[in-house]
C-alpha cells in the first residue's frame, strides 16, 4: 500500500516509458480510490462556494487560499509521519512561535546576519523536535506527555526571549521569504509544493517511509525485523520539528514580526487535517495525499466562510458541522468501497 503513488524519478531508460506511464495512471487511480470520500466532500464544498460567491473560483483567491494553508500544510505533513508512526506531536504550534520569534529576534535585537539567524532558528526548532524524539525513544514516556511538556517549554522560551512581546522586523530580504512571489505564485506556496514532493518521495520511495509504516503497524514485529526503531522515531520527530520551525520563520516573515503568542492550537488544526485525510490515529495507516486533501478542505472551509461574511461565532458552528460531515461522507464511501 505504500508503493506506486508517485512516479519513479530516476527512470531514464526509454523502454521504461510505457511502464512509467502505466505507473502514473495507476498512481492517479490509487489517489482517487483512496481519497474518494474526501474528494467528494471537497467537490461539494467547492461547488456550493462557487455558486454562492463569485470570487471563490478566481485565480487570485485560489492563490490566496494556497498561501493561507501553507503553514498548516507544513505542520500536517510532519504530523502525518508522526501519526502513522503511532505518535502525536502537541508541540508544533509552540515551535512555530518560538522559531519565528527567535529568528526575528536574532536579526532585530541580536543584529545577526539574516542567513545565520535563519539557520540558528531552524536549528533550535529542529532540536526541539529531536529532543521530543529522543525522549520518546529512550524513556518510553508516551508521546502525548513528552510533546505536551515540549509545548510548554518551547512556548515559554519564546516568551522569555522576547519578554512576551512581538518583535518587529522590516528587513525586506527577510520578510520577502514570506511575502515574495515567483511569477505570480507566492513563495510560501512554493515551499509547500517542495515539501509535499519531498514527503511523497520520502514516504513512498525510501526505506524510512516503509519503516514508519512498519513501526506504526506493529512495533514489536518491526523491532524483530531488525529495524532500528529508535532511530526511526527520532528522525520522524526531528523532521516534524524542522518543518514547524520552517513554517514559523515563514509566518514571521509574512507578519513582519516574530510573535511569541502566535500559533496556539495549530497542532490541533494539523491533527484535524490528518484525520480528515484518513490518517488513523492508531498508527500504521494513511497516505500523504490524504493529508494534503485534508489541509485543503480545512483551508477552503475557512476561506469560504470568510468570503460569505459569516459571523465568526457561526463560523465555529459551521466548521464543526462541515468537518464532521466531511469525515462522515468519507466513512460511508470507504464502507461502500469494501
Amino acid at each position: 500500500m505504500v508503493s506506486q503513488s508517485i512516479k519513479q524519478s530516476d527512470d531514464s531508460c526509454n523502454h521504461h516509458s510505457a511502464i512509467t506511464q502505466n505507473i502514473i495512471i495507476r498512481s492517479f487511480k490509487n489517489f482517487i480510490t483512496h481519497n474518494i470520500g474526501i474528494l467528494i466532500a471537497l467537490l461539494l464544498i467547492s461547488a456550493i462556494l462557487t455558486f454562492t460567491t463569485p470570487v471563490f473560483l478566481t485565480q487570485e483567491n485560489m492563490l490566496s487560499v494556497l498561501r493561507q494553508i501553507s503553514t498548516n500544510m507544513c505542520l500536517a505533513l510532519g504530523m502525518t509521519l508522526i501519526i502513522i508512526l503511532g505518535g502525536i506531536d502537541l508541540s508544533v504550534g509552540s515551535i512555530v512561535a518560538m522559531a519565528g520569534t527567535l529568528t526575528v529576534g536574532f536579526i532585530s535585537i541580536g543584529e545577526m546576519g539574516i542567513i545565520p539567524a535563519i539557520f540558528l532558528g531552524l536549528f533550535i526548532g529542529t532540536l526541539c523536535g529531536a529532543a521530543n524524539g529522543i525522549a520518546i525513544a529512550y524513556t518510553g514516556i508516551p508521546p502525548f506527555i513528552v510533546t505536551l511538556a515540549m509545548m510548554m517549554i518551547a512556548r515559554g522560551v519564546g516568551f522569555i526571549y522576547s519578554g512576551g512581546q512581538s518583535i518587529r522586523i522590516f528587513d525586506e530580504s527577510f520578510t520577502s521569504i514570506g511575502t515574495g512571489y515567483l511569477g505570480m505564485i507566492p513563495y510560501p506556496v512554493i515551499y509547500m509544493l517542495f515539501f509535499i514532493i519531498i514527503m511523497l518521495v520520502l514516504v513512498n520511495r525510501t526505506r524510512l517511509g516503509t519503516y514508519i509504516y512498519a513501526l506504526g503497524g506493529n512495533r514489536e514485529a518491526a523491532r524483530l525485523s531488525g529495524i532500528a526503531i529508535k532511530r526511526v522515531e527520532i528522525t520522524v520527530y526531528t523532521i516534524a520539528g524542522f518543518l514547524a520551525a520552517f513554517a514559523g520563520i515563514v509566518l514571521a516573515a509574512r507578519m513582519y514580526s516574530g510573535q511569541p503568542s502566535v500559533a496556539q492550537g495549530y497542532e490541533m488544526d494539523a491533527i484535524a487535517a490528518c484525520v480528515l485525510g484518513g490518517i488513523s490515529m492508531s498508527g500504521g495507516i494513511g497516505r500523504i495525499s490524504g493529508t494534503i486533501l485534508g489541509v485543503i478542505v480545512i483551508g477552503v472551509i475557512n476561506n469560504g466562510l470568510n468570503l460569505l461574511g459569516v459571523n465568526s461565532f457561526w463560523q465555529l458552528v459551521a466548521k464543526g458541522v462541515i468537518i464532521f460531515l466531511a469525515v462522515y461522507v468519507d466513512m460511508l464511501k470507504r464502507k461502500r468501497a469494501k
Partner: protein
C-alpha cells in the same frame, strides 16, 4: 429417526470477494464430540461463528432439537446453551480472571452493584473443579497464553452449556494441559453436553472425537465415524489428493560447527545454556510450556538482553546487541506469535516480505521497486503462498499462508541459521507438510536450523538432535536414534 441436537443445512456465507461457505451441512448428536477438519481457510471458524450467533448466514436453515430457529446474536446463542471458545484468545487483558469469566453477566448485589465476593467465590470453585491453580484475582495480561486458553475454557463452561464449540483450543497447550482438557471434555459429555471440536492435530482428533466432518473450500465433503477411518483417508478428503511423505527429511552427514552457545544465563529466566549447532542439521528444543525456550532464542537473536555467557559464530566470539546485529551475522528468528511478533497485519504481503531486506534494494536513497517485485514474486512462488496478488493485506490470509509469509520474509535475508519457534502452530496438515519440505530443503543447502516445538511428533520426525529444556535449563540432549515421546517427557518434567 436418530436424535440430533443441532442440524445445519444448505448454509451459505459470503464475505466481500470470498465465498466462505457453500451449501454446507452439519449435524451434531447428543453427547458426542464432533471433530471439524479442513485446511486453513476452509471455513471452519466461519461455520461455528454462525452457530454461535456471531455471523448471520446468507441462506440456509438451522434446527435446534428438531425445531427451525434463527439465532439472533451472541446472547441469544448463549441463552440456547450454545457457547464458543474462539480460535483467537478473546479475553480483556488488564482486568482480573474472575471478571473475565463473568464478563457481560456479572451477578449483582441487592443494591445493584457487582457482587465481587460471589464472583470470586464461584470462580475459585470452578478453577478447583477443573484442577487449575490460577489465582482468579490476577489480571489476565500477567498470565501465559496457555493459562489464558484454559481461562477461556473455564469461562465457556461456566455458562449453562448444552453445545460447546472449541476452535483449536490446544494450539498453544502442551501435552499435559491437553490431557487435562480431554478429561474435562469427557466429563462434560457425561453431563449431556455436545461438543464441536476443531483442531489441526490429527492425533487429538483420533483420541477425543466420535465423528469427524471434513470441509474443503467451504463445501461439505463428508462425515465419518472416527473409529472407521484413518489419517490417510481424512487427509485425502481434506486436500483432495493423497499426501505421502508427510514428514520429509534427508539427513546429512555431520557438518562443521556454526554456532556455539556457552554458559548463557539470564537471572530468573535461564541458566548455563550450552549447545552447539552444526551446518545442515536441525536441532530441536523441546519442553513444557513456559520452560524458557523462546526466551533463550530471543536472547541469542538480540531481541532480549542476557546477563552472561558467550555466543560463537563460525568459531568467532560475536556480540549481538540487537536483531539487526543478528541479521547482519546471518541469523533469522521466526517468532512464535506471528500476529504479535511476526507480521504487520494491516499491510500487504509485499510490504511484509521486504521489510527485512530493504537494504538490498537501495538505489542511492531510493528503493528500487522493480528488483523488489522480482524477489516478492520469487518467494510467493517458492513457498506456494496462496494469494491473488502480492498486494493482498496479510491479515486477510489464512493462518498457514500467514506463517509462510513470515518464513519467506526471513528466507529473503539469506540466513545461515534459522531459529523456528513453533513454526507450524495452527497450520493445517497440508501446509505443515509443505513447511517441513521447505525446512528439509534448507538443511540440504547447508543452513543450520533450530526448531522449538511443543508438538512431539514434529520434533521426533524432523530433528537430528533435541535439547530438552525445563526451568530454564537444558536437562539433556537426545540424538535422533534415542528420540521417543517418553524420553523427552521424562526430561521435560524433570523425572529423569
Amino acid at each position: 429417526m436418530e436424535q440430533v441436537v443441532l442440524q445445519l443445512s444448505h448454509i451459505e456465507k459470503k464475505f466481500a470477494g470470498v465465498h466462505a461457505l457453500k451449501d454446507m451441512h452439519f449435524n451434531l448428536k447428543p453427547c458426542e464430540v464432533h471433530g471439524l477438519l479442513g485446511e486453513n481457510g476452509a471455513g471452519k471458524s466461519t461455520l461455528i461463528k454462525i452457530i454461535g450467533g456471531i455471523y448471520k448466514p446468507d441462506a440456509g436453515e438451522i434446527k435446534i432439537n428438531g425445531k427451525t430457529e434463527i439465532i439472533n446474536g451472541i446472547k441469544d446463542a448463549q441463552s440456547r446453551g450454545i457457547n464458543v471458545i474462539h480460535q483467537e484468545i478473546v479475553l480483556v487483558p488488564y482486568i482480573s480472571v474472575y471478571e473475565n469469566i463473568f464478563l457481560g453477566r456479572e451477578p449483582k448485589t441487592r443494591l445493584g452493584f457487582k457482587d465481587h465476593r460471589q464472583m470470586i467465590t464461584k470462580a475459585k470453585t470452578m478453577m478447583e473443579s477443573m484442577g487449575l491453580t490460577i489465582d482468579v484475582l490476577r489480571p489476565v495480561n500477567e498470565l501465559t497464553i496457555a493459562q489464558q486458553q484454559l481461562i477461556e475454557i473455564v469461562k465457556a463452561i461456566s455458562f449453562n452449556v448444552r453445545i460447546l464449540i472449541m476452535d483449536e483450543p490446544t494450539s498453544s497447550l502442551t501435552d499435559k494441559e491437553v490431557e487435562q482438557l480431554f478429561v474435562m471434555i469427557k466429563r462434560l459429555t457425561e453431563h449431556n453436553v455436545s461438543i464441536i471440536y476443531i483442531s489441526h492435530r490429527m492425533d487429538e482428533l483420533f483420541t477425543i472425537t466420535d465423528r469427524i466432518t471434513v470441509i474443503r473450500d467451504g463445501s461439505y465433503v463428508d462425515t465419518v465415524n472416527t473409529k472407521e477411518t484413518n489419517i490417510d483417508e481424512l487427509v485425502k478428503m481434506m486436500v483432495g489428493r493423497n499426501l505421502n511423505n508427510y514428514y520429509q527429511r534427508h539427513y546429512q552427514s555431520d557438518g562443521e560447527c556454526l554456532l556455539e552457545v556457552k554458559n548463557l544465563s539470564k537471572k530468573g529466566v535461564f541458566h548455563n545454556v550450552n549447545f552447539k549447532l552444526k551446518k545442515g542439521e536441525i536441532l530441536g528444543f523441546s519442553g513444557l510450556m513456559g520452560a524458557g525456550r523462546s526466551e533463550i532464542m530471543q536472547a541469542i537473536f538480540g531481541a532480549d538482553q542476557y546477563d552472561s555467557g558467550e555466543i560463537y559464530f563460525d568459531n568467532k566470539l560475536v556480540n549481538i546487541q540487537s536483531p539487526q546485529n543478528a541479521i547482519d551475522i546471518g541469523i533469522a528468528l521466526i517468532p512464535e506469535d506471528r500476529k504479535k511478533q511476526g507480521l504487520i497485519l494491516g499491510n500487504s504481503i509485499a510490504f511484509n516480505l521486504t521489510i527485512t531486506v530493504l537494504k538490498q534494494f537501495m538505489h542511492g536513497c531510493f528503493v528500487n521497486q522493480q528488483k523488489q517485485k522480482e524477489i516478492i514474486q520469487y518467494y510467493i512462488k517458492k513457498l506456494n503462498i496462496k494469494t491473488p496478488s502480492a498486494d493482498k493485506i496479510v491479515g486477510q490470509l489464512s493462518g498457514g499462508n500467514q506463517q509462510k509469509v513470515v518464513i519467506a520474509k526471513w528466507l529473503a535475508t539469506k540466513p545461515k541459521i534459522i531459529i523456528l519457534d513453533e513454526p507450524t502452530r495452527g497450520i493445517d496438515i497440508g501446509a505443515k507438510a509443505e513447511i517441513y519440505q521447505i525446512i528439509d530443503e534448507l538443511c540440504a543447502n547447508g543452513i543450520a536450523i533450530i526448531m522449538i516445538s511443543s508438538e512431539l511428533p514434529e520434533i521426533i520426525n524432523m530433528c537430528d538432535r533435541v535439547c530438552v529444556v525445563a526451568n530454564g535449563q537444558i536437562q539433556g540432549e537426545l540424538s535422533r536414534h534415542e528420540l521417543t515421546q517418553e524420553k523427552i517427557m521424562k526430561l521435560a518434567t524433570g523425572r529423569a
